[in-house]
Amino acid sequence: MTIAVLLKQVPDTTAKISVNGGRVDENAVSKWSFSPYDEYALEAALQLKESAGGDLVAITAGPARCEKLLRDAAAVGADTLVHVSAENINDLDSTQVQNLLAAAVQKSGASVIFCGKQAADTNAGSTGPGVAELIGASCVTLVSEVSSDGSEYTATRPSSAGHEKVAVSAPCVFALDKGITEMRRPNVRGIMMAKKKPIETWSVDDLGIDIGATGVSIDSHSPPAEKPPGQKFEGAESVSTVVGKLRDEANVI
């Protein structure tokens, strides 16, 4: 069995984001990391590999800097490293990205695919279900745990009553929420092995697909609107006004 995990490199969630000339300045990003939910995806994939056996392929699409991510994945146990080269990943629309990843998954031969429920840069959450659609797989999202009895896969996901365990068969995609175990720490042996592991770089041509032109053009990036200065209200009567503002102005409830 081949298991794939789709990993995205994003600015570390603590990194400052600065906008330069109408675009987020990637060169100014001090630290790139795994998108946090992808770490849970990787850990869940490693656990499945350990319990059910198989080969774990780590796949990332993006520019050359993403290779670091693959090495980090190898250091904790990914067997095969695939870099789908896409220098301009952020200019591609969702359809193009999903086509790249779906083609890479198919080329890798994986039938069980893990990814994060959303990536920390756009917080979109389109990739898991989108890739599932393109490869004709089932998809369970917001998953916290995955196990296998050899034929079926059981995933835990939230439900209106709390949580539920659902069963699916391969091919299937699991989009991980915060899982039950944090991603393991690597060790020196893993790091040394990761260094030697080859990275397969697949271009669009290698994948034999045509991803067409983007349907979405990015006009600009801008810093978020300045928060208005703090407002102060007198008396408990103002509570409902504040709650209204939290909903409509701040959009946080």
Binding site: P11, T13, V24, S94, T95, A120, D121, T122, N123, A124, G125, S126, P129, G130, V131, E133, S138, C139, T141, L142, T154, S159, A161, G162, H163, E164, K165, V166, A167, V168, S169, T214, G215, V216, S217, I218, D219, H221, S222, P223, P224, A225, P228, G230, Q231, K232, F233, G235, A236, S238, V239, S240, V242, V243, L246, R247, D248, N251, V252, I253
Partner: protein, 304 residues
């Protein structure tokens, strides 16, 4: 502009975000068709102002959530620009519909203008992206970012019988763990300080927290003096938190406390002393006693 809205349901009725989706579509000059997965609340949808028609898609597949199956069943009814709510179900079904149709999806939009120009926060709100889509596309909208359309419409409801193969089987329900969220993970935190008077009064904060899925935090003064768990402590020697919303109740705002919460996106302070330093970092300050303000908060949140 041709436009389809995928309605969001909640329990036995339509979810209020649906009216916001219609409102957003109307602002673009569209008179949308509303597709209701599973048909729940189709009549409610028909009464939203500005809806041209409602398509109620009914089938066995809607009894279990399988985004793939739902998308297969409703996709034939979706055309033009497809709009859904950026909820967990909305996002997944919308992604599937987009992939099926081979059109792009943009999630979590907070602004729309004709063109279509879409604004959305990126990098957890540290930047905003404006983009333009030329052809058909799928867009999900953030809840409460758009004005809701009114009610009073009377669109027709077409019922379409359409199911699809469900590939997800529910094996076991696990009831909700009563365990409260940890402050370091929560998106909303309500914290209490010495101004709350005594440990028992934290139950009022618990009630608010239950309403909005928040975690409950505390200042060090109450952790030390009333023996609240240290895991609740926010501040320099407690947790450093960055939720979207931090509500400080009866907390003065000592620098060691601020050190742990000042990077929260929005801060609400409830304190009876108008000169309390916490007001210096609050986006919304309420000068009132908690005895009056917290019940008011509870009822205002419950009314949302």
């Amino acid at each position: 502009m041709e436009c389809t809205i995928i309605a969001e349901t909640s329990g036995n009725s339509i979810h209020p975000i649906t009216a916001q989706l219609v409102g957003a579509a109307s602002s673009l000059g569209a008179v949308p068709t509303v597709v209701v997965p599973g048909g729940i609340g189709a009549e409610d949808a028909a009464s939203i102002d500005g809806v041209s028609k409602v398509v109620s898609v009914v089938g066995d597949c809607f009894s279990t959530f399988d985004g793939g199956a739902w998308a297969s069943a409703i996709s034939p009814q979706c055309s033009g620009v497809v709009i859904a709510g950026a909820t967990s179900i909305g996002r997944e079904v919308a992604s599937r519909v987009a992939a099926k149709k081979g059109i792009p999806i943009i999630q979590d939009a907070t602004g729309l203008a004709s063109g279509i120009t879409i604004t959305r926060p990126i990098y957890s709100g540290k930047a905003v992206e404006t983009s333009t889509v030329s052809g058909d596309c799928v867009i999900t909208l953030r809840a409460n970012a758009f004005d809701a359309a009114g009610s009073g419409g009377s669109a027709s409801v077409n019922v379409v019988d359409q199911s699809a193969d469900v590939s997800i089987a529910v094996k076991e329900a696990i009831s909700k763990a009563s365990e409260r969220l940890d402050v370091s993970e929560a998106d909303i935190i309500i914290s209490g300080g010495r101004g709350i008077g005594q440990k028992e009064n934290f139950s009022h904060l618990d009630e608010v927290a239950d309403l909005i899925g928040a975690a409950v935090g505390a200042s060090r003064a109450v952790v030390d003096e009333w023996g609240m768990p240290h895991s609740m402590q926010v501040g320099q020697t407690g947790k450093t938190v960055t939720p979207s919303l931090y509500i400080a109740v009866g907390i003065s705002g000592a620098i060691q406390h601020l050190a742990g919460m000042r990077s929260s996106k929005y801060i609400v302070a409830i304190n009876k002393d108008p000169d309390a330093p916490i007001f210096g970092v609050a986006d919304y300050g309420i000068v009132a006693t908690w005895e009056e303000a917290v019940p008011a908060l509870k009822s205002a949140l419950a009314a949302l």
